[in-house]
Symmetry: C2
Subunit: 233 residues, 2 copies
């Protein structure tokens, strides 16, 4: 092959590589970025899970702040923004809370004398274990809302903010959970010395999951959707 042919091939190769580079930079264009945005949001929504056991690894303070910042962008009736997020990170306090919740759970089960003793013991042990596991998270966020302006709407605002919090956390690789059953509102509020006008919404752990739980069994999408009216179903 002649030297000219070599030069020719090399020039063509250059042009080809330049073309590839061009198409590669197009990837970051706006249209593409929109479809990436949709993909990212749906992936995060679809992979959020309730996490019930955590690695001890701590969560950087700026991540906690970033996640709470997202929470407060939820819709809020009359722009009241009734949220309070209590961040508990001190290990000693998390352990005290765990003790209190376990005792409160045991007492709650004891108020069901209709349960056979064996079953009651199982519930008590199961609950205590669940609380211990959940409390392995390095951070707990207690979500409360001020009900003094719109009592019912404040409740809605609280939940909407929690979903933002959970998705923001999930996008950053953290697990959360909307915990109420083992977290008796009264116990949590008294532990926090929370003012009367604040209503407990939920407690959520924040941390790296021990493992990501599999997807729970889901009903078919069709079961949720009704078109136009219930008559026409």
């Amino acid at each position: 092959m002649s030297v000219k042919s070599y030069i020719g091939i090399l020039i063509i190769l250059n042009l080809f590589l330049l073309l590839l580079l061009e198409s590669c930079s197009l990837d970051s264009d706006e249209a593409e970025s929109n479809s990436l945005k949709v993909k990212a949001v749906f992936e995060v929504i679809g992979t959020r899970r309730t996490v019930r056991e955590f690695q001890g690894t701590s969560v950087p303070q700026e991540h906690i702040i970033k996640i709470l910042d997202a929470a407060r962008y939820a819709p809020t009736a009359g722009n009241v923004q009734p949220w309070k997020f209590v961040v508990i990170q001190k290990r000693s306090r998390l352990e005290s809370l765990s003790e209190l919740l376990q005792t409160s759970w045991e007492q709650k089960i004891k108020t069901h004398p209709e349960l056979e003793e064996e079953k009651r013991n199982l519930y008590v042990t199961g609950g205590k274990e669940a609380i211990q596991k959940a409390m392995t998270a390095p951070v707990y966020i207690i979500v409360l809302v001020d009900t003094s302006v719109y009592p019912q709407y404040a409740l809605y605002d609280g939940c909407l903010a929690v979903e933002n919090l959970m998705l923001a956390a999930r996008s950053m690789g953290y697990g959360t959970g909307f915990f109420t059953t083992y977290f008796e509102g009264g116990v949590v509020k008294s532990f926090l010395n929370a003012p009367e006008n604040l209503k407990f919404i939920c407690a959520t752990p924040l941390g790296i999951p021990l493992e990501w739980p599999p997807m729970p069994e889901k009903k078919y999408l069709e079961e949720f959707i009704v078109y136009e009216s219930f008559d026409e179903e």
Copy 2:
């Protein structure tokens, strides 16, 4: 310059372009994709707005389905999945609903005889206009929950799903709103012929906004956060 030099330069250019291509393809690697995911989720959370007036442009059926699919990935107590999403798209039905809501609003205001007549008229007119504008959306989704298993938790599940719905819609360029005030639950349920055990959560429009509303005034993030306990504030 000799032919060898040309070939040398061309070879070096090729190597350089190959290196550029390599770094470009690294962009789509996992680490980068994670940070893009975080960015996308936070952008969507931060740019969601309550939209109160819409372009008539219709919403493709597959988009409605995709958005409702995201809604049902919300947390749900005991995996009950208590949701019903009623999709209203027929223009004639949207107009009937609009009429009903306007009448119901007028009647509601009339039950406040303590209001001066002038003020009452203003409220009636303002409400009716707001309803008319909101009903310019080509689709309405009425969110209800089955309260027969966990009445209180079902309410939470309903709100959590609505936030998913709103974020999914926002990522796709659609506006929504958590509407309750002008959408009296009883009126909406009777319009839908909804079963007794379903509780109305909210009505949300779905459509391309006439314009994206600016950010409402926000409290400082610090006002929402309490560390460890209310005593220590």
